[in-house]
């Protein structure tokens, strides 16, 4: 039966039939396109899909009227006086500050308590771009989407600006007077009734201050709560080793990686380190010449699954028997027996065989959301294989240690028993993120004194007597440790924009200090470490962006044999409901960053929303299509959300994504559904639940079908049998030859390395002032992203192969767009750049309709923001485009011109590797290479000679300068 949603149709049987009759290697990108009568094809055939609503909705006459009026007004929109003509010099120019020359500082932003080391660019004293710190031992200059977008959070107008008491703006002085009275009480009762709830932290200063507070007030109690966090990982490690340890994987040393529902390459604090290591054995490294193989068994498609050599979609309830079977092969005492399906046992055989064949150079990992007893299997197997110390190392935990604190559930129990008289909530939002059945808001209301400190006046702040604004990491003196334990001293790049305090300052205030300045608190921590070389080492650490040799030492531990009899193998007929952090807003903390909201999610390409992801089989049995509302019930609580049919998802699995359903935040509120409402108390990641259709539907703003190419073989593959593609054939052209210069810029994108993580897209947005257009505009195809990542599937819907393909402007040597422009606003330069001149463009959009790669973006409205403080985030070296002009990727021409200027001043040539585009700089897998293709020594020229090199839509004869390297298909090789 065919089901028609508001926007989509779904008919599994016919989709299967259609896939069966096509070439199985042919790519498809959405389920809708596989049905001939779907609205998808109308969209494809429309000449200007993004203009269609203009024509359809107000009627033809209205359209003509509007056109006439806008034609008349058109000339006027070009007029304007330009910006202000005021010039304000310094009163006293700071040393080394040169207006017009950016300065770089090493510091860090934090994510899940871990440091993300950055090298931050400041223009005239305001941070405008963050990139990884290239000298850092763990991350080596790479970044992820969250780090790239952190600078926008600094300038978020929604941040809280002053202390608030009972909803009324107050001052720090008033707070400190009240705190003094509270402290007198706490001291007299040794802290009885004082409860502190915080997110996990690796900051030595925060940990030092909290410990001294708890020593002074021994009856006070700390609780740690992170909606994602490493709570289950900690318990898994305790099961394996009897104590908590941090595990750090070295994927660069792995020949074989087996992942049991562990999204190694997916978003999270370890993403950069994992992706960097993983990329070492990809790309030009051919199969059987050191290339790693990755076997993934997972329930919900993830970035790791996309990169897998073999991928097994299994329901979460099937992970325990699979882990058992692998452990059994490694010699574990037999656990409860269970039958694997033929497919499962084939995958297990293969994975186990390869693990053993590469003992010492292999790795088995278990997802951090699996049951602790299951997670404990991995350390034991890795020890048996001799991988410990090679591909995985264990170190002391560098956050708060588990003995120091209780959990959120402990706190809820104490609150219910009225044992908590004062609750201080530090950088945590439990009213929003606590499991719904805990009824945290009600419990909180019963606590006599409630204090909240955070970046935003969020849901929790609304329920507290006091809200204290925290500084952003870029305004703070603080410290934190990266995932390898290397500490970074966080230094402020800008004075706090608002009346806010750092987290260490607030903890110190609780400890009795009166208005403590921020820097000495951090200095005091490091005085103990640096000893008598303090000044020198402090300066060096600030300069380098990390404290040298502060990574944790590897521990020599023996893992306990897993007690497999503990493993429960569920045999329920209910649906497995799993929870996952959202790839763009994480647990909700980034919900107010518009760039991240508008970032298409890697696999679904949905923006500004979160779906209930279901498998095609489940959708078929429920008779639902994309966008239809469904009700998901767990333990008598339920949420309603729009469904997304996810090719490759395990048959009986429903995935809910955290981070949406906010009720505060100008940008975040009202989007998506709140998965926390149905999150169970005992196991926060997996639950048994029911799903049923609800009435109605919601249209997703998904960019999946936008900017589609017409042609074939967009993504090419090579294999060990056919390791090379035919070289591009020279095509004759009637178009004129362009002048030539010393440089010919070109870019090569390695599809074998791209993990689709979106770091490049976010970096491009920040560097090039790409504007946010909002949900409604995205829904009609008007998103502005200069760099999009196309996602393709091939094969069947149950377990397709998936591919990512980043598509920036191709900078064609024979560019069709240049032929179309009536005012010569799209022109070629001698170095091969396809220039778009905003001040010439009159907005006919002809270039866009001529562009076969669909990489041009049009400013339908004035999307600019010139309010304080948003405008401070703009890169001053790039025009902020106004309404009515076309724009596109420029190969970061401002960076090319800066290199030209530097070289010209010194009378030399631009050095190889001197120009780095924003996307290239951000990419954690080095999938993007940019440079002068005329210089045969440069990496980009070498890659263009690779056997995997190909042109996108080569048959059109556009001679693109952006080219691709084919992906290896190593599914079959052993």
């Amino acid at each position: 039966m065919s089901v028609k949603g508001n926007d989509a149709e779904f008919d599994l049987e016919r989709i299967r039939a259609r896939l069966h009759e096509r070439d199985k290697n042919k790519l498809w990108s959405s389920l809708e396109e596989l049905l001939p009568e779907s609205s998808f094809h109308d969209w494809m055939q429309a000449e200007f899909p993004s203009a269609a609503p203009l024509v359809n909705e107000p009627g033809r006459r209205e359209f003509l009227r509007l056109m006439g009026a806008s034609l008349m007004l058109n000339g006027l929109s070009g007029c304007g006086t330009g910006g202000s003509d005021l010039a304000l010099p310094y009163v006293n120019q700071p040393e080394q500050e040169v207006i017009g020359v950016p300065r770089f500082f090493a510091t860090a932003v934090t994510f899940e308590g871990y440091a993300q080391p950055v090298l931050a660019r400041t223009n005239s004293g305001r941070p405008t771009k963050l990139d990884g710190n290239p000298d850092h031992p763990a991350t080596g200059g790479n970044s992820d989407a969250f780090m790239q977008a952190a600078v926008l959070q600094l300038y978020d107008p929604g941040r809280s600006k002053a202390p608030v008491r009972d909803g009324v703006t107050s001052t720090w002085g008033v707070f400190e007077r009240e705190l003094a009275a509270l402290r007198a009480q706490w001291t007299s009762m040794q802290g009885e009734g004082l409860r502190i709830l915080a997110g996990d932290s690796t900051s030595p200063t925060v940990i030092r201050l909290i410990r001294s507070l708890l020593t002074a007030l021994p009856k006070a109690q700390l609780h740690v709560f992170d909606p994602v966090g490493r709570a289950l990982r900690r318990r898994g490690m305790q099961t394996a080793f009897g104590r908590d340890v941090e595990a750090l994987n070295a994927l660069d040393k792995c020949e074989v990686i087996v992942s049991l529902d562990d999204d190694l390459l997916g978003p999270g604090p370890h993403q950069v380190v994992h992706a960097r290591g993983f990329a070492h054995r990809r790309g030009e490294t051919a199969p059987q010449q050191g290339r790693s193989r990755l076997h993934v068994a997972e329930s919900v498609p993830s970035l790791t699954g996309v990169m897998a050599s073999t991928r097994l979609p299994v329901d979460p309830s099937r992970i325990p028997p699979i882990a058992l079977a692998i452990a059994g092969r490694m010699g574990a005492a037999a656990g409860p027996s269970s039958n694997l399906s033929r497919q499962e046992s084939k995958w297990v055989d293969n994975a186990a065989r390869e693990l053993q064949a590469h003992a010492g150079r292999s790795l088995l990992t278990c997802g951090p959301h699996l049951a602790p007893s299951l997670q404990a299997v991995a350390p034991w197997i890795n020890e048996r294989l001799g991988n410990v110390g090679q591909t995985v190392t264990y170190t002391d935990p560098f956050g708060l240690s588990a003995e120091d604190f209780g959990t959120l559930a402990d706190l809820a129990r104490d609150m219910a028993a009225r044992k908590a008289t004062t609750l201080v909530i530090l950088e945590s939002n439990p009213v929003y993120a606590a499991p719904g059945s805990m009824r945290f808001a009600e419990l909180l209301e019963a606590v006599p004194t409630r204090i909240h400190a955070g970046l935003y006046h969020d849901e929790t702040a609304l329920h507290c007597h006091w809200h204290l604004p925290l500084t952003h990491a870029l305004e703070s003196w603080d410290d934190a440790r990266a995932v390898d334990g290397t500490a970074t001293i966080i230094q402020p790049l800008v004075r706090p924009l608002y009346s806010a305090r750092t987290l260490p300052q607030i903890v110190a205030m609780l400890g009795g200090m009166i208005d403590p300045p921020a820097e000495p608190l951090v200095r005091a921590t490091w005085t103990q470490v640096f000893g008598d070389q303090f000044e020198a080492r402090w300066k060096q650490s600030l300069h380098d962006g990390f404290v040298a040799n502060s990574a944790s030492a590897a521990l020599n531990l023996n893992a306990n044999a897993p007690d497999l009899s503990q493993l429960q193998i569920a045999t329920s007929d209910a649906i497995d409901v799993v929870f996952r952090p959202d790839p763009c807003v994480w647990d909700g903390r980034f919900g107010n960053i518009a760039w991240l909201q508008e970032l298409p999610k890697p696999l679904t390409k949905i923006t500004w929303d979160c779906p209930v992801a279901v498998s095609p089989g489940l959708a078929d049995s429920l008779k639902i299509a994309n966008g239809d509302l469904v009700e998901v019930a767990v333990d008598g609580r339920s949420i309603v959300g729009p469904v997304w049919i996810m090719p490759g998802q395990a048959a009986n699995t429903v995935a809910l994504f955290l981070g949406y359903g906010r009720s505060t935040g100008e940008i975040a509120k009202g989007l998506g559904y709140a998965a926390y409402a149905v999150r169970p108390l005992d196991n926060p990641w997996i639950a048994a639940g029911r799903i049923q259709r609800a009435s109605g539907a919601r249209k997703f703003a998904t960019s999946q079908r936008h900017q589609r190419l017409e042609g074939f073989d967009f993504v090419k593959e090579v294999s060990a049998e056919h390791p090379t593609l035919p070289p591009p054939s020279p095509e004759h052209s009637l178009y004129p030859e362009w002048g030539s210069a010393d440089y010919a810029w070109g870019m090569v994108i390695d599809l074998d390395r791209c993990i689709g993580c979106n770091a490049c897209v976010t970096a491009c947005n920040v560097e090039n002032n790409v504007l946010v257009v909002g949900r409604d505009q995205v829904a009609i195809g008007r998103e502005m992203l200069w760099l999009r990542i196309d996602r393709y599937y091939s094969g069947d819907v149950e377990n397709p192969r998936s591919f990512f393909q980043p598509v920036p402007c191709m900078h064609c040597e024979k560019a069709p767009c240049e032929m179309g422009c009536p005012v010569n606003a799209a022109v070629h330069n001698a170095e091969g750049l396809n220039q778009q001149v905003y001040n010439r463009c009159i907005g006919t959009r002809t270039c866009s309709s001529y562009c076969p790669y669909k990489v041009r973006r049009f400013n339908w409205f004035d999307y600019r923001r010139f309010d304080e403080p948003s405008q401070a985030a703009y890169n001053p070296d790039v025009t902020v485009r106004a309404r009515g002009v076309m724009e596109k990727c420029t190969y970061c021409t401002q960076r090319i011109e800066a290199a030209h200027a530097a070289a010209d001043k010194e009378g030399r040539k631009i050095r190889s590797g001197e120009v780095v585009t924003a996307c290239q700089q951000a990419c954690p897998t080095a999938a993007i290479t940019f440079g002068n293709i005329k210089n045969s020594e440069e990496a980009v020229a070498t890659l263009r000679r690779s056997g995997r090199h190909y042109l996108l839509l080569e048959e059109l004869g556009t001679r693109p300068r952006t080219t691709y390297l084919a992906r290896w298909n190593d599914e079959s090789e052993g």
Partner: protein
């Protein structure tokens, strides 16, 4: 039946057509003329109102200060830089300490607020001009800023239109000078053409490549 049109109607029609055409042409000439005139470009018009009636004539021609004493970043940054209040006060804490004319400068120092100048040489915001490269390649201050040493109050001396920029970017040789003459207001070349061509070679000017859009627009 009477005639609808009088016998003069043809003449009126012809007159109207010719008149309309003449008006259109005159309007076009007017608009283009205006766009190229000093009224539009702002060149040589009255100086902008400034908080302090600063005289380049007095400081440059009279006292002989080098441009770079105040515009100190001109060789290392895209921007020449305006002097910080402290730079003004390095002299004016010694001389003219009580001059009423300098009250805003003293006020800026005591209240720690910037002096608010009005820009004289303004480029549209989509133009990314760099001072440092122009100086490195031998373009003197006078080329764009005119005889600043003769200005009692500063005004824009050159039109600073795209045409003005392109004239030089297409054929830089006549506008170049040796490095030690960049700030010199009096210098005249002996053999302009030969020297210019020599400087183009010496300074490695990328002839033909500096007229592409992305050099200045991005």
């Amino acid at each position: 039946m009477t005639q609808i049109f009088s016998s003069a109607a043809d003449t009126w029609l012809r007159l109207f057509i010719v008149g309309a055409a003449a008006l259109t042409c005159a309007a076009l000439v007017g608009v283009i003329g205006y766009a190229r005139s000093d009224y539009y470009t702002g060149a040589r018009l009255h100086p902008a109102p400034q908080p302090v009636p600063f005289s380049h004539r007095h400081h440059v021609a009279g006292l002989g200060l080098d441009c770079r004493y105040c515009h100190s970043t001109v060789e290392i940054s895209s921007r020449a830089g305006l002097p910080a209040t402290h730079t003004c006060m390095s002299c004016h804490s010694e001389i003219w300490t009580g001059a009423p004319m300098l009250a805003p400068v003293r006020q800026s120092l005591t209240q720690h607020t910037s002096l608010t100048w009005h820009r004289v040489a303004r480029l549209p915001e989509y133009v990314y001009f760099r001072h440092d490269v122009h100086i490195a390649k031998g373009v003197g201050c006078i080329t764009c800023h005119g005889r600043i040493d003769r200005m009692a109050l500063t005004y824009q001396a050159k039109p600073l239109t795209m045409q003005f920029c392109l004239d030089c970017h297409r054929n830089p040789a006549p506008h170049l000078r040796p490095h030690d003459r960049i700030t010199d207001m009096e210098w005249q070349p002996v053999n302009a053409r030969a020297l210019g061509e020599e400087l183009v070679r010496q300074n490695g000017i990328r002839l033909g490549e500096i007229t592409y859009c992305y050099v200045c627009h991005r």
